[in-house]
Amino acid sequence: MGFFSKLKEGLKKTKDNIGKKFFSAFSGRALDDEFYDSLEEAMLTADMGVTATEQILDEFKDEVYKNKITDPEKAKDLLKRIMVDSISYEIPDYDYPLVILLAGVNGVGKTTAVGKLANHFRSMGKSVVVAAADTFRAAASDQLEVWAERAGVRIIKHQEGSDPASVVFDAISSAKARRDDVILVDTAGRLHNKKNLMDELRKIHKVIIRELPEADYRSYIVLDATTGQNALAQVEIFAEAVDIDGIILTKLDGTAKGGVVMAISAEQEIPVVFVGVGEQIDDLLPFNPEEFVDAIFE
């Protein structure tokens, strides 16, 4: 199943909600205040946030005025284009050996995303090792172990409570010895104690750079699509510890809209790289902005 159909399926319920709102906005006859109000409502309900909504609407209004657009269909295409543009980025291809570090707050689905990523690279014919560097949450490494088994990849894990950086060190050593292509690092989710989290992440970050300087190294933040404007704060906090190269947006199979991605883009230039659309191991797909926006509208 391709990105589009899966996402569409996932966003089916979403459509009932926001899609309907967009639809009713564009089915009005005139592009008047009422029209803009209902657009605003649809966008805010999609978690796009006040700032992004205002920015996008301002640009939209400008273009409508400049190009003297009166046809709702044309206006819709224009709005779509502006939304797509706001989340489109150039993403460099992967080089191998590749290290991907996954960070995020509790319960967003980091461990599951690591499992799915492992499967993704495995099915591309790459050899993969996963590092269970969430040594904090009860049974986190057991959970990752099940995913590693499903994906058919190796796992490096230590005991609960041990130093996460040492897990990463061991995973890198092991990957070097076996010439693995991809190392995936699962980390603990934590928000309340920022200092610890940052120190821990920085330490892991240092170990990766020191031990595998030649690797293509990316750090991704995992965001739950149901998260609201708090996602902005999450990105901000994690960006203080590591350079965030991308977002993995999980749980897009619910009724949530994931519109917060646009709120993030309005403030920082961080692309979405993957989206999670289900519970199966192959339910992780590369992100495609056009199809993402299309799926919201249709």
């Binding site: 009860a138 959970q143 708090n230």
Partner: protein, 438 residues
């Protein structure tokens, strides 16, 4: 702490209003616009925010105006009252079954924090001397059962498991086991599921009809955005939930979900979870939360937390010590421990009127407290009781023993002297009610 951001923004609007004193209609409108943005940025549901603003505007310009207050105070009061009524006006306790065990079923989306909350809830109930049994009915997520077992171990509560078989059967068997053990409360942990997953929602209905829970609690991640009300509404319509638990109300959570869920479902928020320790759970009081949001502090919760950490006896003893100047470094150490038990200084500061929103947990360096503890722990009992004997060579030893420097030790001793002097003065001048030893 939760709501900081909202609190900050609202206070900003209010302080702008205060500069004016009396407000024109236009200024009220402008303020309402700003409050609306603050609510939306805190993830309050679009419709709820709209209704909220309409109600407040109506009351602010209508006949409800109280005499004797200036317009600014009126508007703030109206906002406060409406916030409370949004969140439900009274605290609702857990239902207790006429004949034990009381059965509590937890449900919610994936990653909301159900399993952790099961542990926290057990901890709370155990503090009330209740015998609790936990039951692991999440048979889908890898290692979920093990996670509950580890959590159960932490709170010293038995966990009933039957492996990955039909969760309805596990729930039924757990109920039999609870009766057999004479447990007063049975808490059933279920798998996270999407509210639109009909098959899994049916499973919850089956568990419900099999064990007839007294409480069906929906666990909601407080970072959820606009979708929170859809989720809560669907769970409620299908299962007729009895209440809501909000999790992860710490860090930078803005908690707009808290404001919206009650409004949409009509079901009360019963507890809030705000940290990673098993003690990090609080009963939810709408009025106190509204006070916190408006930056007016939450003295009631503070006092309760203090009562939990100190016994009355200890407090009296401490007061005496403060009065006759016999407060020692050992007492100081005990107090640091108690403050930690109460959730750390950062959390406490949020509840003090006037501090709400002004101090974030980041501003307080917990590592400094750890250092202080290390230094005191490196002293002999004699030194702790009589710090005057700590001269150069002892200082050197203490610094080496605690991994600090002599300057650190000096600073601590100086600070201790100063606070002792302050305590003496305070207790002499008889500041009644100054029972808090910090």
């Amino acid at each position: 702490m939760a709501f900081d951001n909202l609190s900050e923004k609202l206070n900003h609007v209010f302080s702008k209003m205060r500069e004016k004193g009396k407000l024109t209609d236009l200024e009220v409108k402008q303020a309402m616009r700003e409050i609306r943005v603050a609510l939306l940025e805190a993830d309050v549901n679009y419709q709820v925010a709209k209704d909220f603003i309409n109600t407040v505007s109506e009351k602010a310009s209508g006949e409800d105006i109280l005499k004797g207050l200036n317009s600014t105070q009126q508007v703030i009061k109206i906002v406060n009252d409406e916030l409370i009524s949004l969140m439900g006006s009274t605290h609702s306790k857990l239902v207790v079954a006429d004949r034990p065990p009381t059965v509590i079923m937890m449900c919610g989306l994936q990653g909301a924090g159900k399993t952790t909350m099961c542990g926290k809830l057990s901890q709370t109930l155990k503090k009330q001397n209740k015998k609790v049994l936990l039951s692991a009915c999440d048979v889908y997520r890898p290692a979920a059962i093990k996670q509950l077992q580890i959590v159960g171990e932490k709170v010293k509560t038995p966990v009933f498991t039957e492996g990955q078989i039909n969760p309805v059967k596990i729930a039924k068997d757990a109920l039999d086991e609870a009766k057999k053990q004479g447990a007063e409360v049975l808490i059933i942990d279920t798998a996270g599921r999407l509210h639109i997953d009909e098959k899994l929602m049916q499973e919850l209905l089956d568990i419900k009809s099999a064990v007839k829970p007294d409480e069906i609690l929906l666990v909601v991640d407080s970072m959820t955005g606009q979708d929170a009300v859809n989720v809560a509404d669907t769970f409620n319509k299908q299962l007729d939930i009895t209440g809501v638990i909000l999790t992860k109300l710490d860090g930078d959570t803005r908690g707009g979900a808290a404001l919206s869920i009650k409004a949409v479902t009509g079901k009360p928020i019963k507890f809030i979870g705000s940290g990673e320790k098993m003690d990090d759970i609080e009963p939810f009081y709408p009025d106190r939360m509204a006070s916190r949001i408006l930056g007016m502090g939450d003295v009631m919760t503070l006092i309760e937390k203090a009562q939990e950490a100190f016994s009355e006896e200890e407090a009296i003893k401490l007061q005496k010590k403060m009065k006759n100047n016999s407060f020692t470094l050992q007492d100081y150490l005990n107090q640091l421990e108690s403050v930690r038990k109460m959730g750390g200084i950062g959390k406490l500061m949020q509840m003090i009127p006037g501090f709400g929103g002004k101090i974030s947990e980041d501003d307080i360096d917990e590592s400094k407290i750890a250092k202080t503890k290390a230094i005191i722990l490196s002293m002999t009992p004699e030194e702790r009781n009589n710090p005057d004997i700590i001269k150069a060579s002892r200082r050197k030893r203490i610094a080496a023993g605690s991994g600090t420097t002599i300057q650190d030790v000096n600073q601590l001793l100086k600070q201790f002297d100063m606070s002792k002097e302050m305590m003496r003065r305070v207790s002499k001048n008889g500041m009644r009610g100054m029972k808090f030893p910090f």
